[in-house]
Amino acid sequence: MRRTRENPEVHAGSMADIAFLLLIFFLVTTTIETDKGLDRKLPQEDNQTSIVVNERNVFRISLNKYDQLLVEEKIMSTDQLKDQVIAFLDNGGEVGTDGTYCDYCKGSRNPELSDNPKEAIIVLNSDRNASYGMYVNIQDQLAAAYNTLRNREAQRLYGQDFDQMEDRYYAPESNASEKNILKERVETIRSLFPMNISEAELNVQSQNQNL
C-alpha cells in the first residue's frame, strides 16, 4: 500500500552520459562531405567545327607531366596565372570582328594580347600524367580571374558583386520578379566576359593506364 502512494522518481543522472555516448557515436561515424566544387560544362561531342581565330586572342596554357606550367611559352607558377589571365582578357586591344570596341576593358591595350574578352579563348592543354590536383588548381585560377573581372563589371553596372547576384539568382527563396531582374543582369555580365576555356587536345603519348 505504501509503495503506490509515493511515485518513485526516475533517475535522470545518467541521461547526460547516454546523450554523450550518442553524440560521440555520431561524431565518429559521420564524415562531413563537401558540397563545393567547380561547375563546368563539357563541350558537345559532335561540335567539331573549326573556327578561325586570331593568334593574339588565344591564351595557351600547358601543363606537363611534372606538373609544370607553361603559359604563353613562359614557365610560370600558378599564383601568377590569375594576373596574367586578367591582363589577357581585360586588354581590349582593338575593334573586334563584330565591329564592337571593348569600352569597358581597363587593360593596357597591348597588341600582343586579346582584342576583346568576347573573342578571347583560353586553351588549356594538360599532359595525361599531370596530377588532377594541379589541373583543378589551374581551373580554379582561371575561374578566379573571370570572377574578378565579372565582379568589377557587376559593381560598375549594378553596384553589386557578380557572385552575390548569382547566389541570389540560384537561391530557392528569391521570388520570381527578383529572379527575372537577376537573370537579365547575370546574363549581361556573363556576355561581357564569357568563359571560353578549350581543352581541345590532350596528349595521347602515354596510354599505360592500368585499369
Partner: protein
C-alpha cells in the same frame, strides 16, 4: 568580514540538471548538419582545394563518381592501381556511361535536365584518367560536371 565569511562557508553546488539538455542540443545539431554518405568509400579520396567555387546542387540532382587509389586495407584485394567507384562498387571506365544513364533513369523526369555529375577525384590522380571519364560522359550526352573540391587555398604550389 563576518558577513562575507558566512556566505563563503556554504558554496552552492553547480546544478548539472540542464547538462542533458545541452548535450542533446549538441547531438541534434550534429545530426542535422552532417550529411551521412550512403555509400562506403573504397578508394582514397583526398579532394583538391579551390577558392572560386560554386555550391553543389541538391543531393538528388547529383550522380557521384569517385576515383582514386584503393584504400590501404583493401589494397590486397583491389590491387594498387587507380580505381573508379560507382555507388558502392568498383567499376571499369567503360561502365561509366551505362551507370550514368541508369542513374538518370531513376530520377524523376522533371529534374533530369538539371542533373550534374560530381567528379570526386583524388588529387593525385592523373589528368588522363579524368579526361577518359569526361569522354565517357560526352558519349552519353551528359555535359554538366562538377569537379568537387574542398574550400581553401591549395598548399603545394610547384611551378
Amino acid at each position: 568580514m563576518s558577513a562575507f565569511n558566512g556566505r563563503n562557508r556554504s558554496e552552492p553546488a553547480i546544478s548539472t540538471a540542464s547538462l542533458p539538455d545541452i548535450v542533446f542540443m549538441l547531438l541534434f545539431f550534429f545530426m542535422t548538419v552532417t550529411t551521412i554518405s550512403n555509400n562506403e568509400l573504397l578508394v582514397e579520396n583526398e579532394l583538391p582545394m579551390a577558392t572560386a567555387i560554386n555550391t553543389l546542387d541538391k543531393k538528388d540532382r547529383l550522380i557521384e563518381i569517385y576515383v582514386g587509389m584503393p584504400k590501404q586495407e583493401l589494397a590486397k584485394t583491389l590491387g594498387n592501381a587507380l580505381r573508379i567507384q560507382l555507388n558502392d562498387q568498383i567499376a571499369q571506365i567503360t561502365d561509366i556511361g551505362p551507370f550514368v544513364l541508369q542513374e538518370l533513369s531513376k530520377k524523376p523526369e522533371s529534374i533530369r535536365n538539371f542533373v550534374t555529375v560530381a567528379l570526386k577525384v583524388d588529387k593525385n590522380v592523373k589528368v588522363g584518367m579524368v579526361a577518359d571519364i569526361k569522354k565517357e560522359l560526352q558519349e552519353v550526352h551528359v555535359y554538366k560536371v562538377n569537379y568537387t573540391t574542398h574550400q581553401g587555398e591549395s598548399g603545394n604550389q610547384k611551378f
